[in-house]
Subunit: 125 residues, 2 copies
Amino acid sequence: MSSPSPTPNTYPYQNEPTWSKSEKAIARTAFDAALGRELHEVIQRTKQMANAIQQSSDLWDLEHYLTERRKEIDRKYDYRYSQLRHVFGRLLYEGRVSEEELRGLRDDKLKSIRSLAEYLAKDAA
Amino acid sequence: MSSPSPTPNTYPYQNEPTWSKSEKAIARTAFDAALGRELHEVIQRTKQMANAIQQSSDLWDLEHYLTERRKEIDRKYDYRYSQLRHVFGRLLYEGRVSEEELRGLRDDKLKSIRSLAEYLAKDAA
């Protein structure tokens, strides 16, 4: 890592914190748990919407709901270490991950995660 | 109708049969009945698929199913008099409309509808 890498993906960005082995394990567990819970919610909502379908417009409302959820989930759950602090910041703001689940990450990461969550909360207010 | 119309939509195409008032009524009833049955099938299948969802891939399979059905239905149910013989030809081939329901259309129209249905049946064989 002392010389620039030829591939942009491995180039060490400035201010890009490294993730220790134990931090990676914590991040993976918290990430997967939040994604699993969000998918579970979408599954439950889909079953409710499907059971309530009476006419064609309800069908296409369900299609639209699924397309939007898929795009949102794809965008939100980006497991690149360069993105993880933003990902967790949003999940913390949305109540999809708890501080408890992030315990064990280094303080600088937690600070940056909390700071984004607070920014989003203020922005929405 | 003795002089060419300035708007292309009302221009009397060659070989374009006219539809009498009673034929229009028959066509509308048969068209709406076939569309209603097809939508009912999609609704039933959607409820089945939704109830069987266990994991995220099942969700996106349902989304894909709905998108495909919507596109196919949009393409297939084209209620323009210039298209109706093709529409009924396909619906007859698919068993979504019966000859019974088309009874009362003029013979030239029925012949052209049957002929497309037979062509599609041969093409699929």
